[in-house]
Symmetry: C2
Subunit: 224 residues, 2 copies
């Protein structure tokens, strides 16, 4: 394995962007324009960068074709994501940032270079498995178990989950969510499933229990 000289913030950001774009494609690849969109740059800038990353064996790329991360490029991306998410946990759990503000700061912190810093931070945080948005935190050796999203209705009794999205985007539904004080990242514990109508008793935060209908729970996406 070739020795990798430290990458710049910029290179790390591109790898992270390529990772998240290619993860959501069947073929695990992405395109120049998509990357430009995601990184707020212009396509020519991306072309240059792709050539550079290809030279460093971080992506496989031929001009006019779609790009893929190499194994080594993917490992780098995952390490950056690991750092990003650990910092998000720190900001949220320790510094009490609200979940919608952690991202911007973590975007900077993720580039701090120190192995020791990250392993100590992880220990300090109690080896968390998910960030405040419910996304999984990769392990030090780069393993990432892609949490599969399920609907709240399918969570087991007694299990804890995190809200990661919704299936219904209509106003009444979103307003109801807001009324219940449920948003992305909300940690929910499923207390009981009522067999009669599929409604659920759940608890959030400081344990206030509420009851929600099956119809509602069918439209909330969570990860366990």
């Amino acid at each position: 394995m070739a020795y990798l000289q430290p990458l710049s913030f910029t290179e790390e950001n591109y790898l992270k962007a390529i990772y998240s774009l290619s993860e959501r494609a069947e073929s695990f690849d992405t395109s120049t324009n998509e990357i430009a969109l995601k990184t707020n740059t212009k396509p020519p800038t991306v072309s240059d960068m792709l050539r550079k990353l290809a030279d460093k064996k971080l992506v496989t790329y031929e001009k006019y074709k779609r790009v893929q991360l190499t194994k080594s490029g993917r490992q780098v991306a995952i390490q950056v994501i690991r750092k990003h998410r650990l910092w998000e946990v720190f900001l949220h759990d320790k510094l009490e940032f609200t979940w919608d503000k952690v991202h911007e700061v973590a975007e900077q912190l993720e580039h701090i270079r120190s192995e020791e810093l990250i392993s100590r931070l992880e220990k300090f945080l109690g080896y968390p498995t998910n960030d405040p948005h419910g996304d999984p935190i990769p392990s030090a050796n780069g393993e990432l178990t892609q949490a599969k999203r399920i609907i709240l209705s399918d969570v087991g009794e007694g299990k804890v989950c995190y809200v990661v999205g919704v299936k219904d985007s209509t106003s009444p539904f979103l307003q109801y969510l807001q009324q219940l004080n449920i948003g992305i990242g909300t940690k929910i514990k499923l207390i009981e499933r009522i067999a009669y109508d599929g409604s659920l008793t759940i608890s959030m935060r400081k344990g206030q229990q509420i009851s929600v209908s099956k119809k509602f729970a069918d439209n909330v996406l969570v990860t366990v």
Copy 2:
């Protein structure tokens, strides 16, 4: 007061270097070569940077003359120092980094841009007044109260003092300190000064007496 667009890491590092170099001069100024030394760059690089910083009204500078921070430049430098020292406290107190390793990481963390991050961090740390090296932490509005410190060599016989900092920050010195189990806050009683070579007999904690050289005692900062 002119609105200041965010400075680059590099610019912040130069301002910090200029601050610390000029603080220790009678005339509160410093020179191109000194800055180059401190920042591990070459004099021409510094010349360029000084012109740029002068344009931004962060330093007063005329070519071939010595340079001084403006009020605004000093404020920026102090804020960077504030961030640096708060992060050092975090690394030392929360992540249990040893004394001699906090600096390198703080050197990176000090450039993270977020007012909110720093104020929350400060609160989380319990509003510390000194960093792990004993140096004072500037307040949010840029005040920095420097306690009078003397070197251990100048403490009178029979007097008691407290370690508040060091003059030498190199690894061998810091390691020797650790070996002697001397750190910030350590209470030291000066038992005897040997006229012959200026070496000192001191006692700490449970009264174990040890002898230290003048060279060593010249680099330990204390308050009586």
